[in-house]
């Protein structure tokens, strides 16, 4: 390793030294170095890149320091870090995956793992062949760390450190609020007794807080020309009056990674896993990005708005001078575009629905390219770029946009897994974006095991900021 330039570290990427920006995640560092393909999908070998930026999806699973299936988006860079793609060997891997891609259109669904189940010896041979093909089947290197994947800003943990973690049982809480966004802060202000506020961000304010602050700082007076953002920023800024009361426990950088009936929660934070129980749960975990139902919707270069906010505000994703398309609906369409603008990207915006008269005027004034009334029909790759074909609903997709980053702002999907695991009854409500409790917001329901559950905010399918705005009236 040569003498390091200040502000950079040298990682070992695919066996070669690569100097990358210090203080970011592996996935973002590689993106900035124009490495867009982090993995290939297990069956069809589709290239995949930075996508959710929050440790949820599969797109950035890499072999890091000899440990398989580590999320590059949640792993901080450091000198000497060994980063490899998990692709199977070039000789038999990629060509065979292409055969699978062709065969998948002809053979029955699931043929690749449902065939040859009898006789057993043939199944064993077949599995031995297809497991390496998926690219996720190799065990850790001898002596490699097997500890939990460390998050950005956390020290990497090794096996010994993990084993020495204090066994943690945090005991019984009167109230646990999950999500410190607008709705969660409203709930936390009213939480009584022994209470805990959990959020996977390092600061309070939720998924859009950092992006809104960055946009407000960069645009200054111009923010007023984008009423949708000015309104959202004003609403969230007033949440300063909703600072959690003293004595409320805070688990920032924490995620509830599992729940067991009737009242047991698994919390993961910098120190590892802990157990806790609660009498009351306020689920204000917000929504997740939806990938959109178009051809090529898993291409590298496509992100959701929440992934973008996280990559830019937490990991400092540098987009200066890069061409970026933002398309879709809602507040996120404008916030994502304004954030990219604030960080120096060349913005192309394609609102999919009519409306936004003030904002469209501002977009022109800010120098954005505007394609109104279009939505994505297809995404294809073009080297390090992504090419999107856009068209009006039901019409010909004639507009083509080539860019390095495309943010698809579909309606967010309410997060629901933990309430479900605790026994909540949920229904699929398309008008609210996904699985939500049948009752509207802030109805406390008693689950079969006795736990009192409230689902609120975007997790209840409400528009962003709605709960906070109502509380402030």
């Amino acid at each position: 390793m040569g003498a390091a330039t200040p502000g950079t570290v040298t990682i070992l990427f695919e066996g070669r030294d690569l100097s990358v920006r210090e203080g970011t995640s592996v996935a973002v560092a590689l993106w900035e170095k124009n490495v867009r393909v982090l993995s290939h999908s297990p069956k069809y070998g589709h290239p995949r890149g930075l996508y959710c930026a929050r440790g949820h999806c599969t797109s950035c699973l890499m072999r890091i320091d000899g440990v398989p299936n580590v999320r590059a988006c949640e792993t901080p860079v450091r000198d000497g870090l060994r980063v490899q793609r998990q692709d199977p060997g070039a000789f038999y891997g990629r060509p065979l995956q292409r055969v699978m891609a062709a065969a998948g259109q002809v053979f029955p669904v699931g043929f690749y793992y449902k065939w040859f189940t009898r006789p057993a010896w043939l199944s064993r041979c077949f599995l031995r062949l297809i497991r390496p093909l998926t690219g996720v089947g190799r065990l850790p290197d001898r002596g490699a760390s097997s500890g939990p994947a460390a998050g950005v800003g956390e020290p990497a943990s090794d096996g010994a450190a993990a084993a020495s973690l204090a066994r943690r049982d945090l005991g019984l809480f009167d109230c646990v609020v999950v999500g410190a966004g607008a709705a969660g802060l409203v709930a936390a202000a009213h939480a009584s007794g022994r209470a805990l506020l959990v959020d996977d961000h390092a600061t309070l304010g939720g998924q859009r807080r950092g992006a809104l602050d960055a946009v407000a700082a960069a645009l200054g007076q111009d923010l007023a020309r984008l009423p949708v953002l000015a309104g959202a920023h004003a609403t969230l800024s007033r949440a300063a009056g909703l600072q959690p009361r003293s004595g409320l426990g805070l688990a920032l950088g924490g995620v509830i990674v599992g729940a067991y009936e009737p009242d047991l929660l698994l919390l993961r934070d910098q120190r590892g896993l802990s157990l806790l129980r609660t009498r009351r749960l306020v689920w204000a975990a917000g929504a997740l990005d939806a990938s959109g139902g178009f051809a090529g919707n898993d291409r590298p270069g496509l992100l959701g708005p929440r992934g973008l906010y996280r990559a830019v505000t937490r990991d400092g994703l540098r987009v200066e001078g890069r061409r970026a398309l933002v398309t879709g609906v809602g507040l996120d369409l404008w916030l994502a575009a304004a954030l990219l603008h604030a960080r120096g990207a060349k913005v192309v915006i394609a609102p999919s629905e009519p409306g936004w008269p003030e904002e469209l005027k501002a977009a022109g004034a800010l120098g954005w390219t505007v394609h109104a009334g279009l939505r994505v029909e297809e995404a294809t790759a073009g080297g390090a770029d992504i090419e999107l074909r856009l068209g009006p609903p039901g019409g010909d997709a004639r507009t083509r946009v080539r860019c390095e980053l495309a943010v698809i702002c579909a309606r967010g999907k309410p997060a629901y897994d933990i309430p479900y695991q605790l026994g909540a009854r949920l229904i699929l409500d398309e008008s609210r974006g996904g699985y939500v409790p049948r009752e509207a917001d802030r109805v406390e329901s008693r689950l079969p095991g006795g736990l009192l559950l409230t689902v609120t905010g975007e997790a209840a399918g409400l528009p962003p900021g709605a709960v906070l705005a109502a509380a402030q009236r």
Binding site: S41, Y44, H46, R48, Y51, C52, H56, C57, T58, L61, N69, G104, Q105, P108, V109, G110, S146, G147, P148, A149, G159, A162, A163, R167, R168, D169, V257, G258, A259, Y260, E261, P262, L264, L266, R268, G272, L273, L275, A290, S291, G293, F294, A295, G296, D298, E378, A415, D417, I418, Q421, G423, R425, L426, I427, L428, E430, G433, G434, Y435, P448
Partner: protein, 112 residues
């Protein structure tokens, strides 16, 4: 029109929209059996990326209101954990005598 062979429904398990529709045509019309047959929702993200979309598509295929498609069972954990993380946990609250109703759980889950 969007090519359903190129539209990815489940990124983790590489299930395309076309495969999901084909499985439905093969006779897998319940969400739970579709999950097991196609692999939708069984990958690293545990359905965060696809279950809502898959359910909406299933409602369309069946020609029913989305609310009539029941959710497939989602078991804890909701994120990938390592054995060393789990080994560092105190086990009594998980398997101890504090949960006398633990034996009833599968029946309760089935009932939903």
């Amino acid at each position: 029109m969007t090519n359903p062979h190129e539209c990815m429904l489940c990124r983790c398990e590489d299930v395309t929209l076309a495969e999901f529709r084909a499985a439905f045509k093969e006779g897998f019309t319940e969400f739970e059996s579709l999950k097991r047959y196609t692999g939708v929702g069984t990958g690293f993200c545990q359905g965060k990326g696809c279950l809502a979309e898959a359910a909406v598509e299933l409602a369309r295929l069946r020609g029913v209101a989305p609310a009539e498609v029941s959710l497939t069972n989602i078991r804890p954990p909701a994120a990938t954990l390592t054995f060393s993380e789990l080994a560092a946990l105190p086990l009594t609250p998980l398997i101890g005598d504090s949960r006398p109703d633990a034996g009833d759980k599968p029946a309760g889950k089935e009932a939903r």
